[in-house]
Symmetry: C2
Subunit: 395 residues, 2 copies
């Protein structure tokens, strides 16, 4: 009796659940320490201590109705939005004001809001494989059509030739995700410039507006001092989707924001539409206490060195065993080439060594697997001998 | 460049915004004390002190990853869901377990989740006028068709004759809201029994399942000891949508839950679909800290006597001036008959006395106006002489 659209999604969701339950089953039989679950992107670094302090101070200093009430605008508290704008301006030499910022229920909420605001049925949204599988659902929620650009497995920068061919007059948006889930790749400034010039050319050719949606939950999780270009500076029709889930380790609290710059085409209308979408999709406003918390913690960050240690250990360990993968510059994922063509079989084989990974097929990139290294260092240490056994199998 | 569907919504939203700005404009000219804004349903009673205590204790006792991380299930923490189930079972002699509870981003989030889970395009959803205008958007989000039953202005219980005629084989759901926004009416047990028997008859006649969605954000705001029947006990295909926005005065925190009982047709499938809908609509999970807060405050309630005093003062005051309205048994709204046919003109006249109200047309019930009395007692006191001037106009 549930909707037809949901039936397939429930079936698919059961597959993910099955993997999760397999992890629990293995843990019960062999003990939790003997199971190496690299399947989940759930941060395991605690929130900075300043988050706790901020909550204490807010409870003491702010009256209940101000702290827990509806915000006057669905976009969120004015002072919080202004603080976010100021923070971005100082960091990226942009010129945002509070009106360019809409506080959201995480990045997933922000993506739904902006797609709701933009899409007519049958509008096309281009994504670059491998991509976060949820984009498929988000675009489908608003009857959009997801158009995939196939993976460039050389360096996982976009495949521009194919991209250019796939832009049509129905292309309403392009989603990029850098640092990338699942590859950990950061798009270089050259990539961004090339992307922008193709989009500008195509806008002119078709006389359309193509919105570039930059999904940036991993912006602040980067290594080796790599720079992540701020996309609004390269292409006018850019909307940024940010989340504090990873940068402040607050994924359960659902707090993030959208940036809709003045330079975006029909900016005022789009901002108003994002406001309405926030309301009618049932978010109403981003959780109020957490809005105030992130304002107080704009300069804080979860301990990225923790993920960096994990990255080094897992990357070096797997390379030594002969696995192929590029070294991620951001996020907390390794995207490893399957030693056999059928990566689903590879994942099955890995389970026998108590290693859980996600098949690349989930990211529209078969032949690869994703390992989330937001686990404990010790888990990685203990897993390496098991990876060695696994590697031996294919020698 | 925004979506066609959104254009009309943005225009409509500007009208609401215009009213809000009119309030600000009047306040700037005449002073805030001389403006009587009854237009907004934003609770003005603080959260119980126990909410603050609960947050302090959670910060001290729970590690950051548990407190702020993703929940294992998108439905929320297992212990929170079990506690909600236990609380309901003790209060209503039901037999829910954790699996029947899905924690949601308020009632607005819950309604979106259940409608996403249920509706195919062109499925019909019946509502009883006057009704909360947002239902129109929520149903439209999933391409459903909203079917209105016209108001029964005698006692604002449902118009059953018309209801029965409007149920078709395409009817997928019926939304009821008791205590009601905008009337404050509580549906009697007789009403619920009659509703259930009609739905059962129609299910049999058409061989369909019709889900009764009980939207209950005002369940705990009732006066004079009135009982609000628990609908799952009267009709098997009932889903309950609850919010702590009013009962704990936490509207900005976005925390509530869905109850999908085992007795509901395809219960397991519907629970799984609600789980998936929570994820793909971008909620992911209800804010985690607030999940734990409501668990700790299940037996707490905002001070309802505050609203009750307001109710008595405004109701008696308006009655004495000759205005017609029924005495609300719950929520914090008075639904007053306009002394002239065109209630929009009445609202305009009221503005000249610095009184802001919402026209009944917004609730599909022209000829009436809604006054939200979740304001200060003093605001009501000061407004009464202005209402007297307004009344004199129509004598």
């Amino acid at each position: 009796m549930i909707s037809e659209k949901m039936k397939a999604m429930v079936a698919n969701s059961s597959a993910i659940r099955a993997m999760f339950e397999e992890g629990n089953r293995l843990a019960q039989i062999y003990g939790k320490e003997q199971v190496y679950d690299f399947s989940l992107g759930n941060p395991n670094v605690p929130a900075p201590e300043s988050v706790k302090q901020a909550i204490y101070e807010l409870l003491d200093s702010t009256n209940s109705i101000e702290l827990h009430g509806y915000t006057t605008s669905n976009a969120g508290y004015l002072d919080v939005r202004q603080a976010v704008a100021d923070f971005l301006n100082a960091q990226f030499q942009t010129e945002f004001t509070e009106k360019n910022i809409t506080m959201t229920v995480g990045a997933a909420g922000g993506l739904n809001v902006i797609l709701k605001a933009l899409l007519n049925p049958a509008d096309e949204v281009i994504v670059f494989a491998p991509y976060f599988g949820e984009y498929r659902s988000y675009v489908s929620n608003y009857d959009g059509v997801l158009v995939e650009v196939s993976p460039n497995t050389g360096d996982f920068q976009p495949n521009f030739e194919e991209f250019e061919k796939k832009i049509t007059e129905k292309t309403k948006a392009v989603i990029v995700n850098t640092p990338n889930n699942p590859t950990g790749v950061v798009y270089s400034e050259n990539t961004i410039k090339k992307l922008a010039s193709i989009l500008e050319k195509k806008q002119e050719q078709f006389g359309t507006e193509i919105y570039l949606i930059s999904d940036e939950p991993y912006r602040d999780l980067v290594y080796d001092g790599v720079e992540v270009p701020y996309l609004t500076k390269y292409y006018a029709n850019t909307v940024v989707v940010y989340s504090y889930s990873k940068s402040l380790s607050l994924p359960g609290e659902r707090i993030g924001y959208l940036v809709i710059p003045d330079e975006v085409s029909d900016s005022e209308m789009l901002i108003a539409a994002a406001n309405v979408a926030t309301r009618i999709l049932g978010f109403v406003n981003a959780p109020t206490l957490q809005q105030k918390v992130v304002k107080a913690c704009l300069n804080e960050k979860a301990d990225v060195s923790y993920y960096n240690r994990n990255r080094e250990l897992l990357y070096e360990g797997l390379r030594r065993l002969g696995f192929e993968c590029i070294k991620p510059e951001g996020a907390f994922y390794l995207f490893v080439k399957s030693p056999i063509e059928d990566e689903i079989q590879f994942c099955e084989d890995a389970k026998k060594c108590h290693i859980l990974m996600v098949p690349g097929t989930s990211f529209a990139c078969p032949g690869y697997v994703r390992l989330a290294y937001c686990v404990s260092y010790e888990t990685i240490e203990r897993s390496l001998p098991e990876f060695a056994k696994l590697a031996a199998k294919y020698k």
